[in-house]
Symmetry: C2
Subunit: 212 residues, 2 copies
DNA sequence: TTTGCGTTTAACAAAATTGTTAAACAAAAT
DNA sequence: ATTTTGTTTAACAATTTTGTTAAACGCAAA
């Protein structure tokens, strides 16, 4: 349709993101993506040259966005516990959109370790570094048991991300509908906070300022 | 070599398990498996008819074994906290062998949900049911904060399994060698226990009796 | 030693998937 | 109206992967 910008390109990318990161179809073919987007398969090669290059772009974009949100929260001026509460909130919320994102990244790393090494290293600006000082002060003040920043962040990431990665398993075992699963994840925000701090999670204000 | 039992069949299965569940190569082809095992590709079809059927068998066998170990521990007569300590120990140890097992299961569920539904449901005899009573007593006695058995088990599974699923990511970010990663996982056993119970993990006796 | 049976292989056929190309098309600019 | 530009498509070629088959092989029992 002539000069209609990168509209179609975005349509393809968004469709592919849904198949890969939301529905967990790691092996979705270019044909399946094209069908889902309602375009011809050759278009994908026109815009992205190859399936692999498209995948790189999708991963790059999506992970950068997620990491951006997280980093914005962890490097904010909030007090420690409130910061962690916002982290939990943001990671779980984002996971509702793309539950299989990390799952996908993991598979790709096994397939082409070299390519993703630097990408991953550059990207994952160790989040543990962003909370180390505050965490250590918290421990010094005897407000929580001693733990390294690395293990603390991994505990936190684990409890937030695992139910996302394992979405299909959890839904099957407990016979949850999509909306039940959604509610289950919302409950978990509280649970995770309480498991770590042994107290109720505070109300979250400033949510919007921290999103972008 | 004549009457040499199902020796070769086992060789192929073990090789495939290593590629799929240990190295995380979800897309390993029948050719790659055959090469790695040092046999001709057609052998795989001779023994398993198709790649998909072999995959089913591998998943079935491996998950059953892992679940067997876990269930044996959770349905033992041990006191609650010791039981959980053994659970952590067993899951992390098994994960050192096949870190990508769950990752693989998750991907397969997205690909063929129906086939794995009953398999998964029958298999995952909700572990939360096996600890509910003891957990509730623990809470009644005010020895820990209130939490449902489901969320408790998911917290636990998350902290044990996530570092396994995310093996490649963690190793890359923190520049860990295989042996460093191994040590890191061993440390985590303590960390996980302490995060949940706010006390040091007890010594584990009876390890052998609980393994089989 | 030869017959039989499980095991192993190479060669072939079929299917699925990716990547390329040249032509058709539609809208905007000239 | 025609040219131009970017977009879209169908048809084709190449590659990869899977699945089949018939024959060869080696050991053990007859």
């Amino acid at each position: 349709m002539g000069a209609e910008e990168a509209q179609t390109e975005k349509l393809i990318k968004d469709t592919a993101k849904v198949l890969f990161f939301q529905k967990g179809l790691l092996k979705a073919t270019t044909q399946e993506i094209a069908d889902e987007a309602g375009v011809n398969r050759a278009l994908i090669h026109y815009y992205f040259r190859s399936r692999d290059q498209m995948l790189d772009i999708l991963l790059e974009e999506t992970i950068q966005e997620k990491k951006g949100r997280v980093k914005r929260i962890l490097s904010s001026e909030l007090p420690f516990r409130l910061k962690i509460a916002h982290f939990i909130d943001a990671v779980v919320d984002y996971g509702l959109t793309y539950p299989y994102l990390e799952n996908f990244l993991i598979s790709e790393m096994a397939r082409q370790p070299d390519k993703l090494k630097d990408f991953c290293a550059r990207d994952r600006v160790k989040s543990s570094d962003l909370i180390r000082e505050q965490l250590e002060e918290e421990i010094r003040k005897k407000r929580m048991a001693p733990i390294t920043a690395e293990h603390f962040m991994i505990n936190l990431s684990a409890m937030c991300n695992y139910p996302l990665l394992a979405k299909s398993i959890l839904q099957t075992i407990h016979g949850m509908t999509d909306s039940a699963y959604r509610k289950f994840l919302m409950d978990r925000k509280q649970i995770i906070y309480t498991t770590i701090f042994n107290e109720d999670m505070p109300e979250l204000t400033h949510k919007k300022e921290l999103q972008y």
